[in-house]
């Protein structure tokens, strides 16, 4: 299963790109597994992941929430509005 994660703001700057593409052997994973994989694969983002949230199809998700093929996934971290 291939997942594309949208990045914004400082996290996009850290990664040097607006999207990360990750491949998983399983046909379904959850946000917690995605978080762990991103921490292993992207050392610059890793320190920011514990305090970040994921959104699936533009709604906040928990680590237990499953990601299905075709879902829009975004990393929502280091937010700084106002």
């Amino acid at each position: 299963m291939t997942i594309t994660v949208k990045l914004f703001g400082p996290q996009a700057q850290m990664a040097g790109q607006r999207e990360l593409v990750l491949d998983f052997p399983a046909s379904q994973i959850n946000c917690g597994e995605l978080r762990a994989a991103m921490a292993r694969c992207h050392s610059r983002l890793a320190p920011t992941l514990a305090s970040s949230r994921f959104a699936i199809n533009q709604s906040f998700a928990t680590d237990a929430d499953a990601i299905h093929p075709g879902d829009e996934v975004a990393l929502i971290g280091l937010i700084s509005g106002g």
Partner: protein, 150 residues
């Protein structure tokens, strides 16, 4: 009940004051881009949004704040895109019967905005703009020289 939530491209224009029947307190907070960030001179802030989620979360936050503090009105305006030093990037106006709930609403809204709403600001530092301008000028001189020689 007057409620408005808007995301605007670029800096915010001067406020249209919120007025509400029965309000004893109308409070306006404006967020202004400061000249320094992490000790470095700032040129601007670039605000990023994740639409339509950002607007939806702003509306949900506004509605919750109105309910929790029994507000009589609320206006929320936030910039996306570039906002330069001295310009306004955020404005919150609340109307309440009394000062206490108005001030409490403003404080809670801003605290939760910074934790819950998908909005990001990326600093544009003054020295980075000068380096970029210098690089463009150098390229222009080299291009002109190459054209003369050919």
């Amino acid at each position: 009940m007057h409620e408005k939530v808007a995301i605007t491209h670029g800096p915010l224009m001067p406020a249209v004051p919120l007025r509400s029947n029965g309000a004893g307190a109308v409070i306006c907070f404006e967020g202004i881009v400061r000249g320094m960030e992490a000790g470095r001179p700032l040129e601007a802030l670039d605000y990023e949004v994740y639409e339509p989620m950002t607007l939806r979360e702003l509306i949900a936050l506004s509605q919750d704040i109105v309910r929790r503090h029994k507000l009589l009105g609320i206006v929320v305006e936030h910039s996306e895109g570039r906002v330069r030093v001295g310009e306004i990037s955020f404005r919150l106006q609340v109307a309440a019967k009394h000062r206490a709930e108005g001030l409490a609403a403003v404080n809670e809204f801003i605290d939760r905005l910074k934790q819950e709403v998908p909005l990001w600001k990326v600093p544009v530092f003054a020295e980075d703009m000068r380096v970029k301008a210098t690089s463009c000028q150098t390229y222009a001189r080299h291009s002109a020289t190459a054209q003369e020689e050919s």
